[in-house]
Symmetry: D2
Subunit: 417 residues, 4 copies
């Protein structure tokens, strides 16, 4: 059990990390909402603060008063239970509070949370602990969203801005190998050790047929083969909805690719560079991932297959040392184990995002966290190079609509026996 000091140290670190991620961004960068799915950087910085203010301070701080009345309206994301909120698609119309005002808001709430945690007795702290913990993980989720979103913002700018210098670490992935699993009656879901979101419960049994998973992610080079073979022009490879999107939006490559004089370039947070065939393909939708798997004669894994495999091999994050790489790296050498499991790309599964048998959302507004989105989305597993260190784990259920392309997604193939 963490001590008060440990909690506060972790709080300080999580909060500081958000500010480190925003530091390279100008006030103008932090203001833009480039599409309805995207939120401005300063909105993310304020919203995670609002979360602590609303669910921790408002409920437990003696004599609580909000930092600014209207912030409750502006920085509520989707909690109907908290009251009305500003229209999501119009977040980019809000120039004030500015980036510096948000810093003031953050500092105020930081001080008050620290003060509250410092003062309460042990019993009260135990009661607050789940909310504080949820606040940490919530802020870490928004650290990834902040990066996803600013990547999109910068991608629209003809000046091709660079968010962060350097890291491109190519390599030569050896041939794709396969790792087999027996299946049978397996257990899925949170074990009760360590943090988990409510949607990882209850732990329950599932029956799996024997299956195999590719030991690394699909590479850009393999994706180029798919494209060369007419992957974006052959309707027989696609789900009907996916084919509709290919035609309506004229998809012909991954989201951040564009062609110049026969060379494919990729927009990354480290700048715009020629596509490196050794790196994992990323920013493809579920539709594209599924079409690729069909083309390759395979399929996507189910989320249970993925989790069982990851747990079986005690997957851990591989590249945490290199925190300044905001792009997945090439697979290391083959080892007979699954590579690139945690922290490269969110891997599309073939599973719809649905409640585990017996799932119940938490009571109150916090119960809106996960459950109400269990419709028309697909599960992704594994975490990405944008996910903050320490935030990935085998049981983590991420989810996006099947057409989403701005998350840092990738593809791992699966195969029946």
């Amino acid at each position: 059990m963490e001590t008060t000091e440990e909690i506060l140290a972790r709080f300080a670190e999580v909060r500081a990390h958000t500010e480190r991620l925003a530091a390279p961004l100008s006030p103008e960068d932090q203001t833009v909402q480039s599409m309805p799915d995207v939120s401005p950087t300063k909105w993310h910085r304020a919203h995670v603060t609002w979360f602590f203010e609303t669910f921790l301070l408002a409920e437990h701080e003696p004599g609580f008063a909000p930092f600014q009345d209207r912030y409750w309206f502006l920085f509520n994301s989707y909690y109907e239970g908290v009251g009305p909120r500003y229209t999501r698609s119009m977040r980019g119309a809000i120039s004030r509070p500015g980036a510096h005002d948000v810093a003031d808001y953050r500092a105020d709430v930081d001080a008050r949370v620290t003060d509250l945690v410092d003062r309460v007795d042990g019993g009260t702290l135990e009661k607050l602990r789940p909310t504080i913990e949820l606040g940490f993980h919530h802020e870490q989720q928004h650290q990834e969203l902040l990066l996803m979103d600013i990547k999109h913002v910068l991608s629209l700018n003809p000046l091709q801005p660079v968010y962060a210098g350097a890291p491109r670490l190519p390599g030569t992935p050896d041939r794709l190998g396969w790792v087999g699993f027996d299946g049978g009656l397996v257990e899925i879901g949170a074990t009760g050790e360590g943090f988990h979101f409510d949607n990882e419960l209850p732990r329950h049994q599932q029956w799996l047929q024997p299956y195999r998973l590719a030991d690394r992610l699909v590479t850009n080079g393999e994706w180029l083969d798919f494209m060369t073979d007419g992957g974006y022009r052959r309707h027989d490879l696609w789900l009907s909805d996916g084919w509709g999107r290919v035609q309506a939006e004229r998809w012909d490559s991954p989201f951040y690719w564009h062609e110049e004089d026969g060379v494919w370039f990729e927009h990354t947070l480290h700048g715009t560079h020629p596509v490196d065939p050794a790196l994992p393909v990323t920013h493809v939708s579920h539709y594209e991932a599924d079409a690729y798997a069909t083309w390759a004669g395979h399929r996507l894994p189910t989320e249970a297959e993925w989790e069982h495999a990851a747990v079986t091999q005690s997957a851990t994050e591989e590249n945490v040392a290199d925190l300044d790489a905001f792009h997945p790296r090439a697979a290391g050498p083959a080892t007979g184990r699954l590579r690139q499991l945690l922290g490269d790309c969110w891997e599309w599964t073939s599973s719809a995002y649905l409640p585990y048998p017996g799932f119940h959302p938490a009571p109150g507004a916090v119960g809106e966290y996960n459950g109400k989105f269990m419709s028309s989305q697909m599960v992704l597993r594994g975490g990405s190079a944008l996910t903050p260190a320490g935030h990935t784990r085998a049981g983590y259920r991420n989810f996006f609509p099947p057409g989403a392309r701005w998350p840092m997604t990738g593809v791992r193939l699966a195969s029946g026996d």
Copy 2:
């Protein structure tokens, strides 16, 4: 194994039934497309004919020539493999061929199919049999669509037209009871006996926790209680996408209900009548079904739970004698078994429409029948009062997007143990 005569008798019966369903409709009725999801009656009559022409005659009739070149373009629904097709949402712009021209088309293809089946030797007939069989079931699916669609067309007409006279058979459903099932490792999917669509394969194992199902469908009376209790105004009951629809489209009751002076009326194919509290609620979306279940403190069944229950109790169609009732009927008296399983309302499950483990679509254009729609839809089970007799069965996987309200859907509650 059916003889040639038996096949031809069944062919004649299926084809005649379509025409019987269209008979009460004027040429004008048969022309209208009231929303993009809806197809005109005469389009349905022509499309099922095109199916036999394309997949049977074009491949097997010696010296085949199409009845009319452009019909291939006009009456292809979604088979990319067959060539380009007329825009779905513009089917209502096509006045010609008219209802009588479609009758000529049908007669010509009927004669040629009959002739073909009559002439071929036994070995060839065996090869044709799966396509003929698929054509029967395809036409039966469109018989239901024809009724669903014309119900919508007539619903928009201020003259409140009646499709068919009489049948309203009220009753008093006794209290809702529950039937329990043990679960465990069960088998799901087609057994190989009788017809099945490709999406019912492969038969496979699933692990089910113990569960209970309501012994009858939710009634209009119960739905009115939900409405009275603010069911359409309480965000906490709804999936996020569902709540978005409630607000955007101002849902406040099932699809075909409207209020006049405090009384709720329902549009049916038998006319517009006051809502009968004893009848099953119908024409509700998955979102509404899910919200209702949450409100009631229960949930929707998974498709595996539903199928296992239906197979366990050897479900059969109950009301086939009464073929002129185009609306679900009140539940009969309680028996300790599940009532209203087949042939009242399509029952929303909590399962997304996804491939069974190991599923592969058939090769060629017929392979587009089911597989390519396995995205962003929910499974429904059980058949409805609009489903033709003999077309329902326990393993049948119907599917619609979660917001669809024009199918004849209903709600059966489930409960964990």
Copy 3:
């Protein structure tokens, strides 16, 4: 002053002409609404009937009761003063009343109008006369709309249906000549002789500079030169809104043209034929007309210039003998006078549709006839081959939005001195 018999004869003739125009159309044809601007044939037949019922019978028939209550709701076009009405864009969803039911409605109203006119005394007849007269002209307007609309309906049908046989009367137009006018202080607007709509009043003075008008319409051949010269690709020729439409809707030729293997074809009510270079170009928007005039180094006439010229040369309809030609004809030989003034194509002017100085709409719902549309539309003059005989005149102000292409429009060039 017309006698009762003369009025009734004209009434009978106008009413019969509508039915003659609808006669070649099947019930299915009469049901389709192919775009929101278009109304179904049977709706037009019913609406003009509703006009007599509403503005004549309802006000003057003793013991009046509507033929069918809901028809008032269904067949009101845009008269807010008469009460609510069925959504315009959904007219194609109304299968009933069918084409035969509309015939019954027409017969009933015909009989009652005849009866009313027959019975009233002279003084009353004088009071009714303006409404009867307006009803005639209103129905004639809808005769043209009926043809415009069914032309569009049939154009979408891959079977390329023909509305009426024969008339294509090519010719060889001699070189385009110019006719000059002195301008000065001229009088514009209705003189008080013969019928006029309210928007043709008050007669008033305008100052015109000297000007010249082309003595015939622009031909298809000339339009092909415009196209060959990049007319649809050169932004410098276009108004900004027009260029937006060219790009958004990919305009590359007049509305009903399409290319097959290098040959341009035109959809007409007489079938689909290769474009005849001698015929007037038709079905072009104001934007296209304006771009053409810019390309040609000229401009479009103002409505005052057009009217002054037409009055000066006592323009009359030229081709009335040939009532079965539903397409403009080639210009006859040059005469030093303006040709093709009345009854070939509605000619776009450069004048916005605005009230004449001192204009006041009539009181009551009939006052909604013209005035409320005086915004964002352009004036057209001259009548078209779809306009019924006797309905054209020099002072007639037709109007459409500048992007409209489904009216039978054409282009006459003008030039300053």
Copy 4:
């Protein structure tokens, strides 16, 4: 004729005024595009700079090279002749160049323009003069747009930001009086003295009937009477397109008004305040202006009537001393002359924005300045409190679509005799 020094002094002043207007705005404020019609402040600052760079430096500076290649693409507004340009509706997605980068761009172009003007000989200067002059007036137009646009941006912010302190100068307008004019054959358009845009040419004759104009603008108090009398609920007062907008967008008051507890408030650049009945109503569309005039039993003036009246009484700007008032002021005491003619509100006329007889746009890209917008817009006259001092004049033709509400518009009534 201005000397070089005078030209450069005026250049310095115009350029400095833009920066003064932007000075109260944060980088975040300057980045937001709150609707497609609005451009970000920093875009305006850059675009007017691009105008000098493109039309002056690129054509005349020896050894010209653009400040930044991509700026040509980013800051072209609508000049097709200059090349492709960034999508207008996405200007708010461009965070870089930031507000400071734009200052650098401005400084660079300022220095180079100054240098160019300084160096050229007298003959060359005469050739450059029209472009420099156009650049001044172009920048002044954008000074007004900058204020219009930031007013909209701030209006969406729940924090109700204030752009500039103080000025609210109420008053009590005496009764509305009328001033009569004889009309007859009058001359309209630019005389050749002083600056004019191309759309004010050629000067030409028009015939006017006798008319009267209200001697002041309609006030908020009068507008409240209109609202109280059901002005926004009575279809009979409205043009058809206007009524469509009232219903679709639920208009019930001027654009920047909202009600709280029965009190109407108005958003201004000086903050949000209760509506002052003595001030002119502003931010109403042409549709609203027209409906008000109909309700009042009058009409809007034509642009010729307005110009003739303004010229007749040698109208001059009245309130230039008070440059920090960004809102129209109450009318001063009645004098028998027209009050509030220049510099309070842009006054909607009943004239569509069309070319004067004989108008020809200038050759080259500068010719796109005005002519290509002459479609579906209405003329406004008089200038507003947002128009920079010295930029208004009697012959100035401003134009907006009839539904536009974010310009600072107002209403002056007219009457036939």
